[in-house]
């Protein structure tokens, strides 16, 4: 029974293992090192059995094989294995070195890694990137492995923050990443910082290393002024008594400091225009192209998936879907895409496009794929073309009208009427009327349009006010005019009845109180006297005037002409009356 279970496990393992895809990658523990300071090179082979370690040779570097480790895991019935070959790389001289692509043979196929770049600086620390401030309790450096690059080329950079071993430190605030000052570049997302310890000039430092990728976006000198990161530092006062001895009463002081790195400059070169392929979309790096198809034996109308893998080191953000050629007899549809990062920064990755295809007739091979990029190491454009994949197709040719890709079986049925080809309406030819993308409320015409009724409303209100004011003053004006005429008669006329009549009328007009506020019709003097509204000292004179007038006007008694003495008496009475009113 145990043997049976063991055999099944092995079979399951082998079955799942066979499905997993083989991949290979290489990485260096550091991208910058010093002369005679060894670093580690790891070559990882996934899902393949490789018996011998691959040979790695590079000029200027001493590379020695150090050991092999392997790991196998089964997750969700998917088995995967990783074999890691470790090498010790010791630089023997200063400069930039390239470790060429490493080849590994597995399962009858040859796999290649991307090439790696290592910068070696002099031990004395005088080269760019080597800290010169090692006497300070803390300092930082910006390590840029290249002095020149092309627009769009990814440059891995490191920001190293050194702290004396007696200091405690932590990024402040937590989770904050360094800020690189400068312009004309973009950076990738920072990785979580790593920490290590190293000795420098006889002192031990803790180093916090931030890694990211930098890309120049325009040609010219790219000046990286500095990179700054805030740290909360804790340090002790004075010296400890003995190394390793921790005094619980020791005084700590804390402070937040901005730690700045040195600057760097990179010459960003423009991509050459000569020899630029039509299919180039701005991809810069070093890539390989591989294609595969499933299934390889189909009926016409059946879907086939053409998988295109672009693998390498470069700006995967800029990769556009590769173009298909030799599509005669095939119906092609938009592919899906997937990116799998091969390193922490995502500089090295595999981008996979899956093209859904339908064979409309019998053809011998699948469409071929073309992909162009610029190789900054070779300084030229490269166009990769896939070799045609043979396929076996059976069945009759499909009708011209396209079937829905989601329902390919419908097209293979002869009884099904093909769907009508969708098309668009024709263009408009009459001269178009101008229009604006500005919202209406932001258009000047709208506010001019509002000003017209607003002005009209304002004018209307103004007119109403003027009219009301004029209407309010009209009776007063009439009375004033009448009063003036009456006074003129009293002053100039010799006709006695006329003057007496005018005098009585004036008395009546002036008898009204609050003349300005409220217009009331004048009341007869008789009524005023009977109501006691005439002052007592004037009552006799007013009565005499009334009687004289009535006798003169209605009784025709007395002279027809007025004497001056009489006129002056009337005037005095009128003035006194007015003063009293």
């Amino acid at each position: 029974m145990n043997k049976l279970i063991g055999a099944l496990t092995v079979l399951l393992y082998l079955g799942t293992f066979a499905l997993a895809e083989t991949s290979i990658s290489a990485s260096l523990s550091q991208s910058v090192t010093e002369v005679d300071h060894p670093i580690q090179l790891e070559v990882k082979v996934e899902n393949a059995r490789v018996a011998r370690p691959p040979t790695v040779v590079a000029t200027g570097l001493s590379i020695n094989f150090a050991g092999t480790s392997s790991r196998t895991q089964i997750l969700n019935f998917q088995a995967s294995s990783t074999t890691t070959f470790t090498y010790i790389v010791t630089p023997t001289q200063e400069g930039n070195f390239e470790i060429p692509a490493i080849e590994v043979s597995a399962g009858g196929k040859v796999y290649r890694t991307s090439s790696l770049t290592l910068k070696v600086v002099h031990e004395s620390g005088q080269s760019a990137g080597q800290p010169t401030e090692s006497d300070k309790p803390y300092f930082a450096e910006l390590v840029v492995p290249k002095e020149s690059a092309y627009v769009g080329e990814q440059i891995p950079i490191e920001l190293r923050f050194y702290f004396n071993q007696r200091m405690q430190y932590q990024p402040y605030p937590q989770g904050q990443y360094p800020l690189i000052e400068g312009e004309g570049f973009v950076t990738k997302k920072y990785l979580e910082p790593t920490e290590k310890q190293l000795e420098m000039n006889g002192r031990i430092y803790h180093v916090v290393v931030y890694k990211t990728g930098l890309t120049g976006v325009k040609p010219g000198k790219l000046e990286l002024q500095s990179a700054t990161q805030s740290f909360l530092l804790s340090s002790t006062f004075g010296q400890r008594n003995a190394p390793g001895f921790i005094d619980p009463l020791e005084n700590f002081q804390q402070q937040v400091v901005d730690v700045k790195t040195n600057g760097a400059s990179i010459d960003i070169k423009p991509l050459p225009t000569a020899g630029r392929p039509a299919s180039f979309s701005g991809t810069v790096g070093d890539f390989t192209l591989a294609t595969s198809a499933q299934p390889t034996k189909v009926q016409t109308g059946d879907p086939v998936t053409l998988k295109v893998e672009i693998k390498g080191l470069g700006n995967f953000d800029r990769i556009d879907q590769p173009s298909l050629s030799n599509i005669e007899g095939w119906r092609t549809y938009q592919p899906s895409e997937e990116t799998q990062a091969l390193d922490d920064l995502g500089l090295s990755a595999i981008k996979t496009y899956s093209f859904p295809l339908i064979a409309a007739k019998r053809v011998g091979s699948l469409p071929t794929v073309e992909f162009s990029y610029f190789d900054p190491n070779a300084e030229k454009y490269v166009t990769l073309k896939s070799s045609p994949i043979n396929i076996e197709i059976e069945g009759d040719q499909l009708p011209e009208k396209a079937a829905s890709p989601g329902n390919p079986a419908a097209s293979s049925s002869p009884a099904t009427k093909p769907a009508p080809m969708l098309d668009i309406l024709d263009i408009r030819t009459q001269l178009p009327a101008p229009a604006s993308f500005l919202p209406l409320v932001e258009q000047r015409a709208f506010w001019i349009g509002q000003a017209i009724p607003a002005s009209a409303l304002l004018l209307l209100g103004l007119g109403l006010c003027i009219r009301n004011a004029r209407n309010a003053g009209q009776p007063q004006r009439i009375l004033k005019q009448e009063r003036r005429i009456l006074w003129k008669k009293i002053d100039g006329s010799n006709n006695r009845p006329e003057v007496l009549h005018a005098a009585v009328r004036l008395l009546e007009l002036d008898s009204r109180p609050h003349l300005r506020k409220k217009v009331t019709p004048p009341r007869p003097l008789n009524e005023l006297i009977s109501e006691g509204m005439v002052p007592e000292d004037l009552q006799s004179e007013v009565r005499a005037l009334l009687e004289t007038r009535e006798a003169t006007v209605y009784g025709h008694v007395g002279s027809e002409s007025l004497t001056e003495d009489e006129r002056s008496k009337i005037k005095i009475l009128l003035n006194r009356w007015k003063a009293t009113a």
Partner: protein, 244 residues
């Protein structure tokens, strides 16, 4: 009389300058090129008109047709949307947009807010008209000893209600379809990602012609809100703003 003459002169000037400003010759040449199947030539001429001359719904409609004929449904959708922005009543643009969306398999239905957002310009116009009717009718309607008419009072109430309703809609819709941060996905095979990196995990796959609300940009990437409400990063060159 003098005002009539001035108006006639102004109308004559307008009638003469508008076709000149639009570039009548280029327009004709572009239309001819399209009708003869020279789509690249027509595209160049229409783009020249869009770059230099005043915008028009017909221009973007024709440009949408050219992009469709050249096999770029993403930009065809974009230009039909632009034509509908300038003239929501352009039925040909609506029909072609529907067709292209059907071809690319985008079956996203616009929300009620998006539907009335196309008419966003009508709300301030209606609100202003209602406001002025209200303002002009309130005096005669509320005058104590004036000519109080039932008609004026009713007109005042109706205009006031319309003003409040349309003003509220305007506040809700804002710039509507003419929001300068609206953009469309114009390239296929694009994901909304959690971070501005190709290696970042995808939030969702975006369809051709899907609408986005752009929030900020960083390098080649734009932080945006998808029509589903999800926030994420998308490659800037895979999108294009609706307002050019």
């Amino acid at each position: 009389m003098i005002w009539t003459r001035c108006l006639l002169v102004a109308l004559g000037y307008f009638a003469w300058t508008v076709p000149l400003a639009f570039g009548g010759a280029t327009w004709e040449a572009a239309n001819t090129a399209y009708q003869h199947g020279k789509y690249e030539e027509a595209k160049a001429a229409y783009l020249h008109l869009a770059d230099t001359g005043p915008y028009s719904a017909d221009l973007f409609y024709n440009l949408g047709n050219v992009w469709f004929k050249l096999g770029d449904p993403g930009r065809a959708i974009l230009n039909y949307q632009r034509a509908l922005l300038l003239n929501p009543g352009l039925v040909e643009a609506g029909s072609n947009l529907h067709t292209v969306l059907k071809i690319v398999g985008n079956d996203n239905q616009p929300t009620f807010r998006e539907q009335i957002g196309a008419y966003a310009d009508y709300f301030p116009l209606m609100a202003s008209i209602a406001f002025w009717i209200f303002a002009f009718s309130i005096y005669p309607a509320w005058l104590k000893h004036g000519r109080l008419t039932l008609f004026c009072r009713r007109l005042c109430i109706v205009a006031g209600l319309i003003f409040l309703g349309t003003a509220a809609l305007f506040v809700w819709i804002g710039s509507g379809a003419k929001d300068p941060n609206r953009a469309l996905v114009v390239d296929s095979a694009v994901d909304l990602k959690y971070g501005p990196a190709v290696s970042a995990r995808a939030v969702e796959s975006m369809q051709l012609g899907e609408e986005l609300q752009l929030i900020s940009e960083r390098g080649d990437w734009t932080f945006c809100r998808a029509s589903s409400g999800n926030l994420g990063w998308i490659l800037t060159r895979k999108t294009e703003r609706l307002i050019p």
